[in-house]
Subunit: 386 residues, 4 copies
């Protein structure tokens, strides 16, 4: 493959979108991906407006994703997009993703991947059939210190894992702001647009993914307490879940959007036989490693002593903080590099070139369905089914 940028189309991300802009900055950062087309809104005026602001040629801006995919498909190999980035609300993930895959495009989707496990499994089939890749942007597994933790745990530096505590506290839904014109709140609290879970779908899935990604373990049983704290809201805005993992470890997952005063400090602690680890987004460039009989160590992003995966997902030297956009960009970069490798028929994949994909998407959807089911039963332990 000639040296060229990987070409991206975008579905969603028009005026008022939060995550669309994040995706674009993440794609821009490394200069290896180029936005070439978009359907930013089903409202033609809005889509055009965003297209212009992004300096796209008018012919590459659409108000129907179907048109977009169809037109892109027929462009010459040297012009058409390589993958599509889907940043719409959840209920608008499955259809465009499926169509894109079927028409030969790789797909990047914001989480949660679909509205149901069934849809997610279907996407997997379609992707495999068409030999296309899927990337799911669970931001937090993109952080270099999370990569570091994963590699250290995989090497059993802490011995067998015994306990995992993961929490994702937000406070922005502490009042019924979905009744104002807050677009972000409105769709996220609407079951038709967001799915069967509220906080658990929006941020619980992030916490769940982080726990499984870091530990390399899988949840096998859960016991969920979901709450709708703000009156009149239709979905959970808060929840606490007890966990069991496939190696016998236990855990706790807390996800809430009514923790007034909290911003977005997702945090995980893992304890093994020999020590523990702690990471939180508010101090994202540090990984605390706590030992049973030695002083705690603080690993820092960019340091020479880090693992390969941490280093390759870092851009600047230690002491120059990287943040949320860089973590997000890691998924984009690793996805683009993998597309490139696929196109070049490279077979081996370096350890650090990972990104969440369809399997993580299926497990995320399973988390949503299982946690809602568990919350409804009177039984304590609910078998986690996929």
């Amino acid at each position: 493959m000639a040296e060229r940028k990987i070409r991206m189309g975008m579905i969603g991300g028009g005026p008022g979108s939060f995550i669309g802009a994040v995706h674009r900055m993440a794609a821009n950062l490394d200069g290896e991906i180029e936005l070439v087309s978009g359907c930013f809104s089903s409202d033609p005026a809005k889509s055009k407006k965003t297209g212009r602001e992004l300096f796209l040629p008018a012919l590459r801006v659409h108000s129907s994703y179907k048109d977009m995919i169809r037109i892109e498909k027929n462009l010459p190999e040297l012009e058409k997009m390589d993958f599509v980035s889907i940043v719409t609300p959840n209920y608008l993930h499955f259809d465009p993703a499926k169509m894109a895959l079927e028409n030969g495009f790789h797909v990047l989707i914001d989480k949660p991947i679909t509205m149901t496990v069934r849809e997610a499994k279907q996407l997997k089939e379609v992707a495999e059939k068409n030999n296309r890749l899927i990337c799911l942007t669970h931001t937090y597994s993109g952080y270099p210190m999370i990569k570091q933790a994963r590699q250290m745990l995989a090497k059993e530096l802490l011995g067998a894992i015994r306990k995992i505590i993961v929490e994702y506290p937000q406070g922005w839904l502490s009042t019924a702001i979905e009744e104002t014109d807050n677009k972000q709140a409105t769709w996220r609290t609407n079951p038709k647009k967001t799915g069967v879970a509220g906080a658990m779908g929006d941020i619980g899935t992030h916490a769940f993914h982080l726990a499984e990604y870091v530990s390399g373990l899988q949840v096998t049983k859960i016991c969920a307490d979901l709450n709708t704290v703000v009156k009149g809201r239709k979905l959970d805005d808060d929840g606490n879940v007890l966990l069991q993992f496939n190696n016998g470890a236990n855990g706790v997952l807390i996800a809430t959007q009514i923790a007034a005063g909290e911003d977005n400090n997702i945090r995980i602690r893992i304890y093994g036989e020999k020590g523990g680890m702690e990471w939180q987004q508010d101090d994202a460039n540090s990984l605390q490693v706590k030992w049973l009989h030695k002083p705690m160590e603080i690993y820092k992003t960019g340091a020479a002593y880090l693992s390969l995966a941490a280093k390759h997902n870092t851009r600047i030297p230690p002491g120059h903080p990287e943040g949320y956009l860089e973590a997000f960009a890691n998924h984009y970069r690793n996805f683009a590099l993998t597309i490139k490798a696929l196109t070049s028929h490279k077979k081996t994949k370096p350890e650090w070139l990972d990104f969440p994909s369809i399997d993580e998407g299926i497990r995320g959807m399973a988390f949503i369905e299982n946690v809602v089911a568990s919350a409804k039963t009177k039984e304590k332990w609910f078998q986690f089914k996929v």
Copy 2:
């Protein structure tokens, strides 16, 4: 009552004891309590040795608590002890406490108060009948910033409380050190000496007390997952508990002694309608107050803007850190001042002159019994019974 020090006897706290020395330092700090007698061990040599080290006259040192109480009882009013401090392992709390109360002595006991709820209730009866006071040393409610939090929450500065997360992670029982000669580990993992719960009794009760004390709420339902992580151990060394409170708030309580690498960082977060609060022992002189629409505030021990209760339980100006012993000493001081007030027939009691007592002891024992029962059922929610 003439100005004199309050006189204390001690049961337990001989060679190898950890908490006995803590109690003595706490009692010493303010110079208002005097150790006058003791039964530090049932082994006469050990009791004498400790007595000598503490500069006690030989006649006030005993190897039977029964002798000690009997002899003290018959001393002249101006010489005999006012209260007895019981710092033995749990199974040796009830009998000496009961006998001391019946013989006219006030009683201070380390937590958990007894082996069963039944015993705790009995102590309450005996104390009331004899018009004697009981102080239960739940250290963490002695911290000035916890007093501050309680007063702010009582004034509803955060609105109605919605969620409480309390955790007490320790790592010292990560391996089977009870099989070595570690005296502290040995009795704490022995059901005959410690009671029906391990970690939940030893530190879960602290977390439970802290949650109820700070919030002014009561737990009404629980869902417990207790684990014995280290093989061969007879009791729980780890557990996660979902909570419901009497105002509808939900919560999570985590207490573990196998979180390798953790020392003793008990931590609580409370969220209300308007904001949240966070306190942790590792930064004990700070109280984080997080607001929904304003910058987070950090309240500091000793500051002029604090509540009465915080100020009266502080000894030095802001920026001079106070710690665990000072928190412990607050209970001793408030208990001694209350004994003095009782003796002087004072009737009103200032708001700040509080300490955990028999009612907190009963609830703590109920926590232990309920959490063990809940852990055994397959039902999710277990009604908290006292």
Copy 3:
């Protein structure tokens, strides 16, 4: 001006460069700047290699900056670059900058701006004569919480400023790594390439700029103690400087590259009559505001209560950490927007659209010259001359 991206050329930033890649990421992030040409190295093979990696057309890649400027100048208005980004070692700043300005290009330069005050003043003249803009990438004034601090101080929320402590500790030059093949260390310790100061030029200038930017004050007198700690090194690698400001405030500036174990935690504290402020890069999204009689407040990036300047230099909501690259990108974005406004003959400039420019460059060079001169005298106070 039609909606299009601002076009950038780059001088420097070839293989082995650290800061070149940083500049490109900063320019990429917001998708408003396009790299269109470059002279990445005077070695043609290296320049070409970098050009290819950056997907540039071969005809826009040069190995002489003179060729590059000449050729770009003659391109049609719709193709040629708008500004040139100069990311070479210090001794290669002045000539290309001067030539670019004279040929009608705006110029962005990494700090310190030149080798001498004289050169910097000359650049100012040339820029004014040609009506071109200069941007100097003092990263740290690009952080949103620094913008916030500046606005709060300008409004005198802390009263008159009394004391400023600014420090920039690094440890990477703790040993003589310039004697290995460390390219970064080699030129930075070579007076011919870096100028008359070592640590003071490389990072002291950042600290100096930060102090003046945040406070709105100017240094008037200094007392410098410069040290060469690692034997054989030709320039200072460490220094402590006492400061006096034009309003009577005093201060301390510490810049060192031999603080073994430190990464890059630039930190500033400003004290006024009513309170103090503290910011450090390791916790870049927080601004501590300490009050004389109230609890300390923590302002957080992205919050709704922040100043206009802080908000406009932020991309994502509170709790999503932004870091070094985002701060860097703020200068690029504000520079690009100002170029755009200039082209559109807009006259008013919003408060938040600021970036360090030639005047800051002159003061930075003056700092270097004054600090070196002060270090040589036996007199305590040295009048700061520009």
Copy 4:
């Protein structure tokens, strides 16, 4: 010597005293020191009031320190005090200390030890002549993590020391509160009562002592900038001092009482060839050890891996924070144990049994005199003379 408590008399510490109460709590904590007599005020009513509150027999309470020393001297060996604790304002240190030493009593004095170097040297002579001990309560060298740092540095674990930054920022004198009835402020800003320096005497001496104690080095040259920020004040309330040490290391000492918003966060950083250390009182139970090529380590009070000196100056297990009073009590305990050892003619002294004494007192007074002299000269470097 029979097992008995060490007996203390106190001079100063009457109503309104801050430090008197601190001394008494520090002496009380370990139960090894007994307050037996006092002259708490030269006002008989006040002295009596305090004596009663401290439960002292009336005959042991005086309103003249001369009477007190005379009377104590003539008491039987088994009753009289062993040492006197002098907690008066600075100008009332020398006379009672001298008289106490001459009459056979050991002496503990709050810092700074006297009003002049001359007086301090005289005390040394008197103490030596009478074979009596002096303890000077520089609180901060009593912290266990400071002991740990000292031992690690003495073993050259960081290699040769290159740089020391010590700072002591307070804000309580940000306004002219000495013009109100604030007793603490009034004497501390009055040259007749406090000596030739203000902030430098009150807290600068602490910082100076800490730097020399931790590093084992001595200051040889200084360059001082002292300021009187609050109008009308007679002494310095703020200052910055450049330092040179006897091994060639450089340093900075900052002491200020007008850093509005700061409480009492004394902090020290030491850099050697291989790494750095950082300790601050706000996080007193942690010692940060930063390595050039390894992750930073956090040493914690009470941990098993600590040095002997750290362990012996700690009372409780890791995770149970100790604070200012415990650090203070360490000096008292070590002083009392040394008195005991002296009485028992023990000759070897364990490494951990240290406390600041007369030599540290002389250097502290020299610091005050040198820093004031340096501030007055126009020369940069001032030779530190003792």
